[in-house]
Every structure is written in structure tokens, then in C-alpha cells.
């Protein structure tokens, strides 16, 4: 194995044997012939980029960072990472839009304090048209709603005290989505964890996970956040707590991309970063927690496997957990990209591709005849809700709806 170490580059592009399998599974290539495809944009072009880092290919911007190329690659080449790094390096200066969409921790408090006004402002046609023309944020795409109280504020104010006295604890990485847009998901997570006997803590100084910055090429900013997060995670792990996210993209970026794209060594804590459904299912399977469900619960849902869930390989935990719910009829959708890819689908130049990719998934959802879709990813949720007008739930939300909390608390003797 010594030999391999000597000849392998960081993102192992030379392992590519040009089999072209990745091009079969690239959702962008399917709708956009101008995209050279993962093989050419990734390992093929990397040879030239090694010779001359200035060689940049405009078409790299089309990559969704869905990582389906990596999941399909028989040779284990990190095609998506190669493209992400090349994309970031090839850009000079970043537009105001990309910075805005990538968010900033320091602005979150301000945003929350003006949330109702901001939400109604962002709904106005004239504002959306302005953002479309001046910021290239597509006017057809509604902006996510901001919550007037951030999850972290709610937690410190209303939930932290109740977390005392548990025998076991986890640390919750809420991410910017739960914090700013959808605190309910975080509240449901805390409620379930408490019911099965776990107290919840937050990291001292949680920063954005960085996925939006990475995909906009703002690597330096992403790196700063990532370093602070890894430090904070290390502290939690040292105190014996796992760090659990409800967003698969947060989990993926912290486990994989911190190391592969930002070059931050997280190998000592990587495997302590997990996802809510994986954490819960593992405990349930080992018999360490018990779940009791409402007797009269009934719902029919279709499960959509988000790209980053596929990359994590953790779809089986979410679906296994959902299958525990009596009265839940679960239809598995074929695994395909919804086209949204985080804030990718907000950008004006991507909107049409985003919808063309999504249409294939929407068609399959229509065929199932369900009115509710379950998916772990928040931006898949935005995409399916906007494009189809269906209700889209996180598995945690569905569990919170189906669990009989009183019985579950009794079964787990939680404090």
C-alpha cells in the first residue's frame, strides 16, 4: 500500500479509469449539454489544471455538487470535490448575491428581529423583480421564510433549563436552516430526544456549516467557520457527546468536505458527527431506547432520497425509523436529484436547469398520488413545496407527529 500513498494525489483524480459511469448518473448532464459532465470537468480537466492553475472552465459553474458522480464511481474518485475546488479557484471576486445567499452568523440576529417585515417584503413582486434584475436571484423562486425567534434564542430561553438532570446527552448542531428559518424542526428534535431519555446541548459557538459558502466558492470564509466548528465539536466529543444534525448537508460537509475541500483535519471527530435519524435508529436497534406511537395515526407519504443522504449512505436509517411507525404507508421514490442543490436553484442562471432536473422527480411523485413527501433535506423541501404545492416533512417532524410522547417518556424513564 506504500506505493499507492506515493502516487495518489489529494483528491485521487488519477484513479479515474475513464469508464464514463459517472456521466450516466449526472443530473446536470441530463438536461444541459453545455456541461462537460463530471468526468471531463473533474478528473480529466484536473490534469490540465495541474499544469496551469489558471485554466478555468466556465462550465464548472453548472455542477450542482450533488455528489451522485461520486456515489456511482467504481474507482472511488472524489469527482465532486475535485470540481468544487477547481470551481472555487477559478473564480475571481464574488458577487454580492453569493455572499448574501451564503448568509452570515453575525446578521442572523438582525434578520430575526425584523423577520415579519422582511418576510412580507420578500414576498412583494416588486422586491422580487428587483432581486432578479440586480442580484440575479430568480424572481420565480420564493425566498425562505425567516423566523422571528431563532432556534438558539428559543433554546436558551425556554428549553435549556429542562435539559438538566438527564443521564445522557447529545449536542445538537442546528445549522442555519433550523436556526433562522424553521426552528420547529429543532424543537421537535429536542422533544423526541428528551422523551427517549437524552438531554440536548448546543455548541458554545456554532457557526454556519459552510456548505453554501463552499458551493459559491467562498472557501476562505467557509474555512474560518469550519475551523471554529471543528474546535467546538472537539470540545463536545472530549466531554463524551456526539454531535447530531438534522440536516444531512450539514453532516456531510462537516464529515467529508471540511477535510477534502477545506483541508481541515477532522479525522479525530468525524465519526462523532451524525444525523438525527441515524442516531435514533441505532439506539432503537440496540434496544437502548423505546418508542411508542399513537394508536390512531395514519398517513401515506412518499420518501425522497436527497442527494447528500445518498452520499452519506444513510437513507436506510431514516426509512427504517419511519417503518417503525404503525399506520404509516411509505412509498419509496426512485433516488434522483430534485434540482435545488441548496441555493443553487435560487440563482437566476440556474433556475431553468434546476426545474428541468426536478421535473423528473415531480413526475414520479405525481404518479404515487401522495399528498405528503418526506425527505431529510431542507432545500429539497423548498423545491418540492414550491414546485408541487405538496406538504414536505422531515422524518423528525413526522416522528414527532406520530409518537405518543407520554408513553414514550414512561418507557424510557427519562430522568
Amino acid at each position: 500500500m506504500k506505493y499507492h500513498k506515493r502516487v495518489s494525489s489529494e483528491n485521487n483524480f488519477e484513479q479515474c479509469i475513464k469508464c464514463t459511469i459517472c456521466t450516466v448518473y449526472c443530473p446536470m448532464l441530463e438536461v444541459n449539454p453545455l456541461y462537460p459532465g463530471p468526468k471531463q470537468a473533474g478528473p480529466d480537466a484536473e490534469r490540465y489544471r495541474l499544469k496551469d492553475p489558471q485554466i478555468c472552465d466556465e462550465a464548472l459553474k453548472y455542477c450542482l455538487n450533488c455528489k451522485r458522480c461520486e456515489v456511482s464511481c467504481p474507482s472511488g474518485v472524489r469527482i465532486g470535490d475535485i470540481i468544487a475546488i477547481a470551481k472555487a479557484k477559478s473564480r475571481h471576486g464574488h458577487s454580492v448575491r453569493d455572499r448574501l445567499l451564503s448568509g452570515s452568523d453575525s446578521m442572523d440576529g438582525v434578520v430575526a428581529s425584523v423577520a415579519p417585515a422582511l418576510n412580507s417584503l420578500l414576498e412583494k413582486k416588486s422586491v422580487r423583480r428587483f432581486m432578479d434584475r440586480c442580484l440575479a436571484i430568480d424572481e420565480r423562486r420564493p425566498m425562505p421564510k425567516y423566523a422571528s425567534e431563532r432556534f438558539s434564542s428559543w433554546f436558551r430561553k425556554s428549553a435549556q433549563r429542562e435539559q438538566e438532570g438527564f443521564g445522557k446527552y447529545v449536542t445538537y448542531f442546528h445549522g442555519s436552516y433550523v436556526n433562522c428559518n424553521y426552528p420547529e424542526l429543532g424543537k421537535e428534535f429536542v422533544r423526541i430526544l428528551n422523551a427517549v431519555g437524552y438531554g440536548v446541548r448546543l455548541m458554545d459557538d456554532e457557526r454556519y456549516c459552510g456548505i453554501a459558502k463552499i458551493s459559491s466558492g467562498l472557501l476562505r470564509q467557509a474555512e474560518r467557520d469550519a475551523e471554529r466548528n471543528v474546535e467546538a465539536i472537539r470540545k463536545e466529543v472530549a466531554e463524551g457527546r456526539r454531535v447530531i444534525a438534522t440536516s444531512p448537508s450539514c453532516a456531510l460537509v462537516m464529515r467529508e468536505e471540511y477535510q477534502h475541500i477545506l483541508g481541515i483535519d477532522n479525522s479525530d471527530v468525524k465519526n462523532y458527527i451524525s444525523l438525527s435519524t441515524r442516531f435514533l435508529y441505532r439506539l432503537w436497534e440496540r434496544g437502548e431506547i423505546k418508542l411508542a406511537f399513537k394508536e390512531d395515526y395514519h398517513r401515506k407519504v412518499a420518501y425522497h432520497s436527497a442527494c447528500h443522504m445518498e452520499k452519506l449512505g444513510w437513507v436506510l436509517y431514516s426509512t427504517a425509523l419511519l417503518r417503525l411507525v404503525p399506520g404509516l404507508e411509505l412509498v419509496m421514490l426512485p433516488s434522483q436529484c430534485c434540482g435545488m442543490a441548496g441555493f443553487y436553484g435560487y440563482k437566476k442562471e440556474n433556475y431553468d436547469f434546476s426545474q428541468a432536473i426536478g421535473e423528473k422527480l415531480f413526475e414520479r411523485i405525481r404518479q404515487t398520488g401522495v399528498d405528503t413527501v418526506v425527505t431529510d433535506c431542507e432545500t429539497c423541501k423548498w423545491q418540492i413545496e414550491m414546485s408541487m404545492g405538496l406538504e414536505v416533512m422531515n422524518p423528525i417532524t413526522l416522528l414527532a407527529e406520530a409518537i405518543d410522547f407520554e408513553k414514550t417518556r414512561d418507557l424510557n424513564q427519562n430522568k
Binding site: 469508464c19 450516466v24 448518473y25 449539454p33 467504481p74 445518498e310 452519506l312 449512505g313
Partner: protein, 419 residues
Amino acid sequence: MRYEAIIIGGGLGGLVSGIRLAQAGRRVAIISAGKSALHFCSGSLELWSKWREELLGLSESHPSHPYNIVGLERLERYTKEVKEMFRRAGMSLVGDFEKPHYRLTPIGGLKPAWLTLEEYVTFGAKSDLEGRRVLIVGLEGYLDFYPEFIASGLGRLGAECRVEKVSLPELERLRESAAEMRAVGIARQMQGEALERLAEKVSGLAEGCDLVLLPAVFGLADEECFRRFARMMKPAEVRVAPTVSASVPGVRAQRLLSEEFVRLGGQLIQGDRVVSYQLDRSGRIESLSTINHADILFRADDFILATGSFFGRGLVATSENIVEPIFGLDVVAAEAREEWCGEKILGEQPFQRFGVRVDGRLHPLKGGRPVENLYAVGSVLAGADAVKEGCGAGVVISTALMAADEILEQNGKRKEESL
């Protein structure tokens, strides 16, 4: 995660044994690191490149060939069973064990095959080509299909061949990125009006021909695509010929077999890699760990190693030796590196026969002793030269089904004992 059987490898071998076990009601998982060599599928499942007589004498001519472990009787039975398995998954194969046919190669050669996907052209005998009037249709801008080579190959056997090229407006868009105009991209366009237009154009050219050949670019998502096209194409018989990879029918086969496995209750875990294993006190394999699942182990009673050879990384060539990377199993391989390859690229290549050593029940050996609850199947096995012998799919399917049967039989026995 607990299963009754876990299969490492999601290619033809892994899927075939997975389907067999799932069908018997077993809780099975397949752990697959990337998509498989099915994507290079020629359209045919080969058993042996020479005729059956040679296959009958195999135990003497090739004593260490995996077919000798399976035995001809089972090989024949499995050929029939796999045909049925493919049919249930939505693919129809022609041919049988008794009577091989010829398939066409992408450069116009004929090779014997036993089972071929229905849409591909096959010939009962080389003499069938004499006097056949064949139209070979290429697509403008598509470089992975060689009508002239096919025409010259079939021409040598007495066929009268004509080559035509057609273009379709739907394909013009693909040409914007010339290097990415591949079979799969074309296949995505082959629906609705494009399909009708193609049928109309080709029908117009087919006058006086009794066989029309097109590249295999039909039916990526829709299994009925080629049949629909063929019905529109009157009156000539129409068939496809293989293209350079990725093969559209191969992609379809991977999908349909995977879906069949999942439909039967199997758990398909993709894009992950087994990195280590744990033994119980009696030396049986107890569980596997993978990159994605890390400290959550995959436990099972039985395991099947269907990781393929060098392409699938079932075998890895280091600078010093050839290794089986997951379990460190005993490998049959030439020790000296210079003996791995033959000098002529198209001649015998010794590395083709390298692989893991197994006992008569497909248990691989480690340190000279069989690993009791592990079975090795397919091209990770030593002894076969898939290229020279044309036995790739045959070895994969027969050993995959045999391993599944062994597991079912052993489980049955264990259950009887415990009663």
C-alpha cells in the same frame, strides 16, 4: 444493522445472488462501492467462447476453472434460471444452454453467446449471413458506433451491407458538447416524436433490406422503448448492435436487477466501501464495517464476496503483490511482477486468471483454511480468463447462484438441527 446475509458488491454477481436469497425470504443487504461492470455489457451473457464440446471436457483441459466447482449439471440449470430471473426483472433473453448463437461485436466480429438480450442481433450460424441484405444505420455526430466496421465484418460472411447515417433535430443539441455525445445521452432523447421520426427515416432507407441494425441507444428508462420502435419500423426486421460503453442496455440491466432486488425486500447500500471485518470466537465472520457507517456494523450469518476483479477492486495490484483487500484472502497469482502480463496485448494475459482460492463450496481460503461463512463468487475467483474464454457472465452467474443455494441449504440444515 442485522441481516441474514450480506453481499459485498452490487454488480451482476451480487445482484443475482441477492435476488435469489431475497426471493427465498431472507433478509439480505448488498453493499456496493460504485456502479458495476454491467455498464459495459455487450448485450449477451457468455458461457464459453468455444462450443459446448469443449465445455464438456473442461475438468481435464482447465482443472482449476471455477466451472469445475459448479459442475455442468448446475451450470445448465442456472442458465435456465437466470433467464427466468431476468424475465421477472423486466428483461427478455433469447437463447439457451443447448444451442449457442453468435453475437455481434462493436467492430463487426461474431462471437458465440448463450443468452442475449432480445433487442440485440444474433445469428444461429455464420452461414445465416450469406445473401442477407443488411442496412446499418449510424447517427450523425455519434462516434461510439462503427457502421463501416460492422459492414465489413458481416460482408466477409457473405452479407450485402449498406451503411447510412441519419440525423435528428433532437440529437443536434447533444452535439454542442461533442465529447459527451454518448449512447446514454442519445437514449434519453429516444422517446415520443424523436422515436417516431427515427422510425420514419430509417424505414425510408430500409427498402430492399431484410435486416436493419442500429446502435443500442434505446430504452434507458423505458423497457418497452425498443419494442415500440420495432413495431413502427415496417417491414424490415430491426435489431441493435453494441456500442462503446456505457452500454444503454447494461445501465438498464443494472437498474432493473437492483429494483427487483429492492422489490423483493433487499437492502441496497450504494456508494460505500467495506473497510474491515470482525470475527466471532469461533473464527466466523461476525460483521463488517464500512466508510459511511463507520462504527455501526453490518452483522450477518453469511457473507458473499462479489467484488469483481481489478476493475471492481475485488483484487488490487500493489507494487509487490496481488491482494484481496477486504479479508486478505489467499490469492492465486504469479509472484514475480514481470509474470503478471503477457507481452502481446491481445495474447494470454496471466493476470486475468488471478483471484482468490476457494474450496469446493466456494468458501475462500485464508492462511490455507476455508472461511466457513464467507463465499466468493464471480470474477474475484481465480482460474478463469473471462476475455480469452468468453466466460465472464457464466462464471459470475453460476457461482453467484451456487453460493446463494449453499447458504439456503446450510440455513435449512441449521434450522433442522436447532429443532
